[in-house]
Each structure stands twice: as structure tokens, then as C-alpha cells.
């Protein structure tokens, strides 16, 4: 309905402030009397904190306070929590060590805070931090997941012997054993999924204010989910009861998962604002982001796949060691279990699957969900496996995939997920056509004549989004429900405010959500505004992650709109002296179908608020709320194909083409969807070719700046060729599936499959730097 409804490529409403420099991020917030925090962080990966001497620092200009980990413990501020309980194979609960916001006794990763300086200016806080003397007794450290589980390895937490948090499994081990005993062929693969640093361009920041008279706190913070932040800060960290704590996330400069969590710095800023009775601002610098933002991935896996004589898959066996870093971050435990192993069926009929996941502590930055969260690890493993199998079985990799695709829906996998709908042939066919797969052999031959090694690589991903049905995740150990809420306020003049529980950090909610309203009411999006990111304004929300804002949050908006429309129709019918069932909504008017009688939305709204002539018994006002709990996950899926050339002399890769064919169900704003795919692909390609967090043996993060960690830049990436195939999601009223993570989930395998195809050698780990590729070619 209308040019700004569902399916329209509407330019974004929020852009004007961003392109004119008027975006408002946390570090732009200033308060009267504001002081500045600077953290003192451990330079050691593992050490005892024997003493902190701040005598000299306290004498320095502008210093207000030096606060330590012992004080935060003494004030009974709660330890950081992990919100998803995982049970090991043997039935025992996961084994977690305590994580205080600042370390009173022991530091377990480089960058962990031990104290904070509060001063009049940022520079004064930094200067004084130099004068604080911390007496450390160094302990042996371990950074590598394989080293951490060896006997004699340094131990991080007494609660977790052997550094093992859990030893979990899923699937049917006996059935997999049977499958392998019947196999005509078995393909094995060992691989590493490299650790990544999220690096949202806006570093994390917090501005905390304590109002002594009201005993009330306000926190401006870089958050993807301000209500979850308030809940955790209140219920678990004992900062303040929820009605005495307002959390505001203004414009948020990217997150990719890293701004889901409630970090020590935000806790300390709030706590300190009461201690010093001044507003406290902390803005992380990039080095702090590298050291303290939750990292992503970091798996070491071994997989085996059994095939029958016709190349049909019989079974899959996977064993994964997941590196959690030094502490269990908020959702870390769920990432390598329920967000990873439940996707190991991919797009294929695999009659038997068995996966074991061992979660391990190391002296590194905590690891948690980063764009895709577990699903990229599953997709990478499976899609490299399919390519490896095709080469070993000497069949075309697209043919092997097609032979094993799931064709009937709904489809129950052996690892919990029940796929509702999809068409995997449609997406791979679209991708193969887009890249001229049939013509590749000729292109490869021509490239060879020019001295270049050309390769092509396929990746067919599926992900579980629309996170998540609360009852289902509750039964699997989640500490929260994962519904979403929305409120719709129709003002007396007919303008509309939507208050969603999700919060944009770049996704364009201020445009997409307005398009849903425009579609339903036929009003221009200029008459609709979005109010989000403030716990004092929005009733409640679980936030934005897991590609859930449209699939779960959009559905909540629809549910609230249905209530608004039902009431508005009653008012219109009363005013027009017509039957409610004859009222239709078109172009911003409520019409009596088949007649020229109509009343415009503003008149209906005004009638609702003047309440002079409402149907008997009707409450005044036109404002409704809804809480929507999904009945299933959604399953975006697609096929990516990468064609590239490798220079055998240098090992350098150059893209020839990268095509993506995605099925996200219905697209609300295709322009925004494409943008999400572009960004996801860049992160997936970044993982494959460029990015990797490297720790040395002593636990120092060697790649802790943009000088050392290779972020994808404009000249590292190709332009992308996108297309969409569509099966509408039957599980929600919009038919949408979510698109935020797909690119990051599917891209890495396509790139590595293309390089290994080009060089004819499968021994290649990510990131496939020129050095690694050269060595893979030349030994």
C-alpha cells in the first residue's frame, strides 16, 4: 500500500542527522559537573594483585578518587553473570569462576581492570593513572585452547578443574556410530575458526549520573538492549532497583553483538557516580575495545562425515573445543552449544548427528556472540566439509550439495531445529546462474595461461534467527525470555509514535518500522516516528541481536497495530453509522466499503481523545501495546559463490566475483536488506582473508590496534552481486526471516573453498593471508 509501504526502497529517515554531524552518541553527552573515569588495567595475562598504592596519584591535579576492586566487592556490587545455564554430558552444571567488575585479588587477562581514577578532566585521569602503583605477582598463563586442556596447564579458576567449563553434547552417538559402520566413504576435516574482534567503529562509552535526592541513577550507554542492561544492573549487580535506574542508549555506532553485554566499565561508572556524587563519563579508546569488548568465534574442531555409495550423507560427528577466554560473558555459554551445534545439519538431510563441545577457560579476553554467533562456525565447518567431500568423492560440489538438500518442509533435524520452510535449490541455482558457474572451467583455463590460479567456492548456509521462542529457550537453560514488545501511540492529531523494544545500532529501524505502519494505514512515513533506546519511554524490550528486530519486534508492532486498528474501526463505524465489519483502511482513511463514506485517521484519533462521541463503554484514547513471543525460530538461508584468483608468486588473492542469493522471506526495505548483506559479507570475508586476534604464549594480545589487526578496507573487498529468492516465513505475520547476520555466516566458507580450489590444497586456515596461501602452495 503506497510508495512507502512494505517492499519500497525508501531512503532512511535517520540519515539526515548522521550525514550532517548531528547524530548523538554517548560520548557526545555532557552533564553539568561531569567527571571522567580512566581504568587501570592489568598488563599481565595472569597475576595476583598484591597491592594498589594510590597515594601519589591522589595528590595529582584534578583527582577526585581512585577506586579499587576491593571497594566494589566491599560495596556488594554483584559479580558479572552468565545468563544461560549449560549442563554437561554427565549432568553436572557448568563450572564458572567469579568475575568481579574490577579484580580485587587475581587478574586473568591482559586489560582486566583493577582500579579506576576519577578526575576533573580526561587527561588528568590518565595522568593520575600513571602514578597508581599496582604490585602484581605474575602467574603462568595459557592463551591457546589446546594448551589449556593439557595436564599441567596453568589453572584459571578453582571452580573449573582442568579449565573445563563444560563438556556438552547433542545428538545420537549410537546412531552416528551405526551410520559410520555402514559408510562407503568417510571424509575427515580438522579446522580452526579464528578469533575475531568485533570493532564497532564507536568505542563503548558510559555516562552515569546519580541523583542523591531521588536516589535515582541514569546511565547513557552504548547498548543494543538497554532494558536488558537495566535488568542485569538491577537484579544481579545490585546497583539500584529497576524503578530507580534509567538506561538510555542514544545513537549507537555499530555493535555486531559486542554491545549486548553489560560490561564492568558501565557498572563501575554507575557505582562511582554515587561514590563521588558527580556524573562520571568513561569513553573507551580503541586499545580498550580490543582488550575488553567480548571477542568472537575461536573454535578448534574435528569433523567426520559418512557417505553411502551414492554419495548420500549418512552421518556427521563433530568435536569442538571452544575458547571462552578468562570469564563467562553474558551469553557466551549458549554460543558454541545451542547457537552452533543445532545448526550442524545445514541445508542437508543428515540422518544422524552427534556433536561434543568442550568449553574452555584461557587467559584471554572473554568470548561471546559476534555477528552470527555460533552459526558462522557451524556453517564454516559444514560447508568446508561438503567441498572437501566433493573433492574426495570426485563429484561437483554443487551436485553433492543438491543431492543431499532437504526438499520437504517442515523438516525436523536430529539437532533440535525444525526448519519451517525453504527452497535451497532455488538459491543455489540463482547463485550459479549469476556467476556463470557453467563457464568457470573455461575461465580457469584462461587464467592458468596468464599464470594465475583461479578458484571457485560455494557456501550454502542456513541460520536460526528470530531469536527466540521463550519457552523453548527456557527449557534449554536461558535465563530470559526472548519475546519482543511494541507500543503504538496514535496522537490526537493522527500522527503516530512507535515504541519498539528493539534498538537500532545501524539497522535503520526508524525507516523500516515506519514502513510497516505506512503499509497498514496508507499514511506517509513522515507522519510516523520511532521512539526507542530509553527505558523511561519504552515499556520493555529484549533488544537487537540475532537478526531478531524485524522477525520478532516487527511482529510485535503488527500485533499492537491490529489492536489499534480494531479500536479505530469501532470508532469510525460509530461516527459513520456503519457496521464495523464494513470498515476498510485505505490511504489514511477509514472507509465504508462500497460507498463514498469515509473518515480520515486524524478525525478518528481526535474522536478517541475528545471522547465526546465514542461507542458506549469504550475507553478514551488510541494507544495499544503488544508482547509477541515467536512460536519458532526463522530460517534464513542462501547460497554464496566466490570466484577469485591467487598469484602463485605472492600468495595474494584477488576477487573476480562474489555472488549472494539469499532467502529472507518478505523484504520490508530491500535497500536496507542489501546493506545488511554487504556488511555481513565484509565481515565474513574479513574473517576468511584478513582478521585474526593473535595471542602470544604469555597471553599478550599481539593484534591490539588497527595497525596490527587487519580490518577490511575499501580496497580489500569487491562489489557484491546480490539476488533474492523468496519463501515466506509461515511463523510470523510479516513473513520475514531476518537478514542481519547472513553475510557473516555464509561468506567465509565460500572464500576459503575458492582459495583451496585454486591452489589444489586443502591445508589452509583463516585468515588466509598471502603468507599462509604462499606456504600452502609451496610447502
Amino acid at each position: 500500500m503506497g510508495v512507502e509501504g512494505i517492499g519500497a526502497r525508501v531512503v532512511r529517515k535517520e540519515d539526515r542527522r548522521f550525514i550532517t554531524g548531528q547524530g548523538r552518541y554517548v560520548d557526545d553527552v555532557k552533564m553539568v559537573g561531569m567527571s571522567y573515569a580512566h581504568f587501570i588495567r592489568s598488563p599481565h595475562a595472569h597475576a595476583k594483585v598484591k597491592g594498589i598504592n594510590s597515594t601519589e596519584a591522589m595528590k595529582m591535579p584534578g583527582v577526585i578518587a581512585v577506586l579499587t576492586g576491593q571497594q566494589i566487592v566491599d560495596d556488594k556490587v554483584g559479580n558479572l553473570i552468565c545468563g544461560w545455564a549449560i549442563t554437561s554430558k554427565d549432568g553436572s552444571p557448568m563450572k564458572m569462576g567469579a568475575w568481579p567488575a574490577m579484580a580485587p585479588e587475581t587478574v586473568r587477562f591482559v586489560g582486566q581492570a583493577v582500579a579506576v581514577v576519577i578526575a576533573e578532566t580526561k587527561n588528568q585521569a590518565k595522568d593520575a593513572a600513571e602514578a597508581v602503583v599496582v604490585d602484581y605477582e605474575e602467574l603462568p598463563a595459557v592463551a591457546d585452547v589446546r594448551a589449556a586442556i593439557k595436564s599441567g596447564a596453568p589453572q584459571l579458576h578453582p571452580e573449573a578443574p582442568g579449565n573445563i567449563v563444560y563438556d556438552w553434547h547433542i545428538g545420537d552417538e549410537a546412531a552416528v556410530g551405526d551410520a559410520f559402520s555402514k559408510a562407503a566413504n568417510v571424509v575427515t576435516l580438522e579446522l580452526t575458526n579464528n578469533r575475531l574482534v568485533p570493532n564497532a567503529m564507536e568505542p563503548r562509552a558510559a555516562v552515569a549520573h546519580y541523583d542523591q535526592a531521588e536516589e535515582h541513577y541514569t546511565l547513557y550507554t552504548t547498548s543494543q538492549n538497554p532494558h536488558v542492561a537495566r535488568l542485569v544492573l538491577s537484579a544481579f549487580y545490585n546497583i539500584a532497583p529497576e524503578h530507580k535506574l534509567r538506561v538510555i542508549a542514544p545513537d549507537v555506532g555499530g555493535g555486531f553483538g559486542s554491545k549486548i553485554y553489560i560490561y564492568p566499565e558501565e557498572m563501575v561508572a554507575l557505582w562511582a557516580s554515587k561514590k563521588v556524587n558527580r556524573p562520571v563519563k568513561w569513553t573507551g579508546d580503541r586499545s580498550e575495545a580490543f582488550l575488553t569488548d567480548a571477542h568472537g568465534r575461536d573454535h578448534v574442531s574435528k569433523a567426520e562425515m559418512a557417505f553411502d555409495k551414492d554419495n548420500k550423507i549418512l552421518g556427521l560427528r563433530v568435536k569442538t573445543h571452544a575458547n571462552f577466554g578468562a570469564y563467562m560473558s553474558l551469553f557466551s555459554s549458549a554460543v558454541p552449544t545451542y547457537l552452533y551445534a543445532t545448526l550442524l545439519s545445514g541445508q542437508y538431510v543428515i540422518p544422524a548427528i552427534y556433536a561434543e563441545v568442550i568449553g574452555v577457560y584461557t587467559n584471554t579476553t572473554p568470548v561471546d556472540a559476534y555477528r552470527g554467533a555460533g552459526r558462522p562456525e557451524a556453517s564454516y565447518l559444514l560447508e568446508r566439509m561438503m567441498e572437501t567431500a566433493a573433492r574426495q568423492l570426485k563429484v561437483d560440489p554443487t551436485e553433492l550439495r543438491k543431492k543431499n538438500f532437504i526438499n520437504q518442509f517442515p523438516y525436523q533435524t536430529p539437532v533440535i531445529m525444525a526448519y519451517d520452510i525453504g527452497d535451497f535449490h532455488a538459491s543455489i541455482d540463482a547463485a550459479m546462474k549469476a556467476i556463470d558457474y557453467a563457464g568457470f572451467a573455461a575461465r580457469k583455463a584462461k587464467a592458468k595461461a596468464d599464470g594465475k590460479l583461479r578458484g571457485i567456492g560455494v557456501s550454502c548456509y542456513i541460520e536460526a534467527c528470530g531469536i527466540a521462542p521463550s519457552k523453548a529457550v527456557g527449557s534449554l537453560g536461558a535465563g530470559v525470555g526472548l519475546w519482543e514488545s511494541a507500543e503504538i501511540r496514535v496522537n490526537p492529531v493522527g500522527t503516530i509514535e512507535v515504541l519498539p523494544g528493539s534498538h537500532s545500532h545501524g539497522q535503520g529501524h526508524e525507516t523500516t518500522f515506519c514502513q510497516i505502519i505506512a503499509e497498514r494505514l496508507g499514511v506517509p512515513i513522515s507522519q510516523v516516528s520511532i521512539v526507542h533506546g530509553d527505558t523511561d519511554k519504552v515499556q520493555f524490550g529484549m533488544g537487537t541481536y540475532g537478526s531478531r528486530s524485524i522477525a520478532v519486534g516487527g511482529a510485535a508492532i503488527v500485533k499492537a497495530m491490529e489492536k489499534v486498528e480494531a479500536k479505530a474501526k469501532k470508532i469510525a463505524a460509530h461516527a459513520l453509522e456503519a457496521s464495523e465489519s464494513d470498515i476498510v483502511i485505505e490511504n489514511g482513511e477509514f472507509k465504508v466499503t462500497g460507498t463514498d463514506k469515509a473518515i480520515a485517521l486524524p478525525m478518528v484519533a481526535l474522536a478517541a481523545y475528545t471522547a465526546h462521541n465514542l461507542p458506549d463503554g469504550m475507553e478514551p484514547g488510541l494507544k495499544e501495546t503488544a508482547f509477541y513471543d515467536p512460536t519458532n525460530f526463522t530460517f534464513p538461508a542462501g547460497a554464496y559463490i566466490c570466484e577469485l584468483e591467487v598469484d602463485p608468486g605472492t600468495g595474494k588473492t584477488s576477487f573476480v566475483n562474489f555472488v549472494a542469493a539469499d532467502d529472507f522471506g518478505r523484504l520490508i526495505n530491500p535497500m536496507i536488506v542489501e546493506g545488511q548483506v554487504h556488511g555481513g559479507l565484509a565481515q565474513g570475508i574479513g574473517q576468511a582473508l584478513l582478521e585474526g586476534a593473535v595471542y602470544d604464549d604469555t597471553g599478550q594480545l599481539v593484534t591490539a590496534s588497527f595497525m596490527d589487526y587487519t580490518m577490511p578496507r575499501a580496497d580489500d573487498l569487491p562489489s557484491f552481486q546480490l539476488s533474492h529468492t523468496t519463501t515466506l516465513c509461515p511463523g510470523n505475520p510479516l513473513g520475514v526471516k531476518g537478514c542481519g547476520e547472513a553475510g557473516a555466516i555464509g561468506a567465509s566458507a565460500a572464500v576459503i573453498n575458492a582459495i583451496t580450489d585454486a591452489i589444489g590444497n586443502n591445508k589452509l586456515e583463516m585468515p588466509a593471508t598471502p603468507d599462509r596461501v604462499w606456504h600452502a602452495i609451496h610447502g
Binding site: 531512503v11 532512511r12 535517520e14 540519515d15 539526515r16 542527522r17 548522521f18 550525514i19 550532517t20 554531524g21 548531528q22 547524530g23 548523538r24 552518541y25 560520548d27 557526545d28 555532557k30 587527561n123 570493532n199 564497532a200 567503529m201 564507536e202 568505542p203 545513537d251 549507537v252 555506532g253 555499530g254 555486531f256 579508546d285 580503541r286 586499545s287 545500532h505 545501524g506 539497522q507 535503520g508 535497500m671 536496507i672 542489501e674 546493506g675 554487504h678 556488511g679 555481513g680 559479507l681 565484509a682 565481515q683 590496534s705 588497527f706 595497525m707 580490518m711 577490511p712 578496507r713 575499501a714 580496497d715 573487498l717 562489489s719 557484491f720 553475510g743
Partner: protein, 166 residues
């Protein structure tokens, strides 16, 4: 402390700052021009790019004192009143931004790229490879650069037309 006098977005200003103050902090903290962002500590990301005497400069790499007497343009000074600069309009029209954090620096760099190529007499015909190479000093984590490159190429055309009209 020193007094630094300079022109920012056409307005003469005089600011007392510590000698170690960087230009970006003078703009953000003293002049409240918060459109210019800080994204790293190593002059890599380009979120802080402004124009100093018409040239793109990473304002985290320049002391405020070094900008004394200069003419500085920030993202806030690029539009003419309500009329967007063609580069700003092209970023919006091509969906060249998502979270918006890198955008001001990206736009200021892109304007400089197009100006330099136009003045070199390349006829405003920047190609994709050149734009990608020239944007190497600006990091975006959201867009994968696809639409940023489109926006810069689009704006180069619009700026050529605007230049011809003047």
C-alpha cells in the same frame, strides 16, 4: 595552556587549550562540534577527518596549536543551510551509511578525493578502483563499502555538474 585562534565553519574562534590538545578534541570538547568522531588511537580509521585549509586531515593527528590561523571545515559546516552538499545527499540516496559513526569522516574524505581528481582534470571520472584505493584511510564496519563507493561515484558526477553550473 595556549590560546589558539582559527576559523571553524566560517566563524572565527579563539580557544584556550592545553598544549597537548589534539584538533579533534578542540572541535569536540571546546566547540561542541561532536559530528567529528574518534574511532581509534592510531590515525587509522578516519572517523575524525575534517578539512584544514581545504585539505582532508585526520584531526586526531594534528595538535590544536598546529591548526592556528587555519580555516577548518567540519561535517557540520558542509551543507549550505538546509541544502545538503552533493556528497551528503549521495550517501543518503545510495544508503552509504548504517550506524553513521564513520560517516562524517568518510564524507569529508570523499569530498577531498573528488575535489583532487576534478582539479587534476580527470574530468570527474573517478573509477571504482581509484575510489576504493583512496578510501583506504577510512574504516567502516557496517556497509562493506559497497554503497559508499557507489555514493562517492554518484557524488563525483553531481559535483561535476554543480561545478559546471557555477
Amino acid at each position: 595552556m595556549s590560546t589558539v585562534k582559527l576559523t571553524v565553519n566560517g566563524k572565527a574562534v579563539s580557544v584556550d587549550v592545553e598544549d597537548r590538545t589534539l584538533l579533534v578534541h578542540l572541535l569536540r570538547e571546546n566547540l561542541n562540534l561532536t559530528g567529528t568522531h574518534v574511532g581509534c588511537d592510531t590515525s587509522q580509521c578516519g572517523a575524525c577527518v575534517v578539512h584544514v585549509d581545504g585539505r582532508a586531515v585526520k584531526s586526531c593527528t594534528m595538535l590544536a596549536g598546529q591548526a592556528a590561523g587555519s580555516n577548518v571545515t567540519t561535517i557540520e559546516g558542509l551543507a549550505k543551510g538546509d541544502e545538503l552538499h552533493p556528497m551528503q545527499a549521495a550517501f543518503r540516496d545510495n544508503h552509504g551509511l548504517q550506524c553513521g559513526y564513520c560517516t562524517p569522516g568518510m564524507i569529508m574524505s570523499a569530498v577531498d578525493i573528488v575535489h583532487r581528481h576534478h582539479s587534476q582534470g580527470s574530468g570527474g571520472k573517478l573509477d571504482e578502483e581509484t575510489v576504493r584505493h583512496e578510501l583506504e584511510g577510512n574504516i567502516c564496519r557496517c556497509t562493506g563499502y559497497h554503497n559508499i563507493v557507489k555514493a562517492v561515484l554518484d557524488a563525483a558526477g553531481r559535483m561535476k555538474v554543480a561545478q559546471a553550473a557555477e
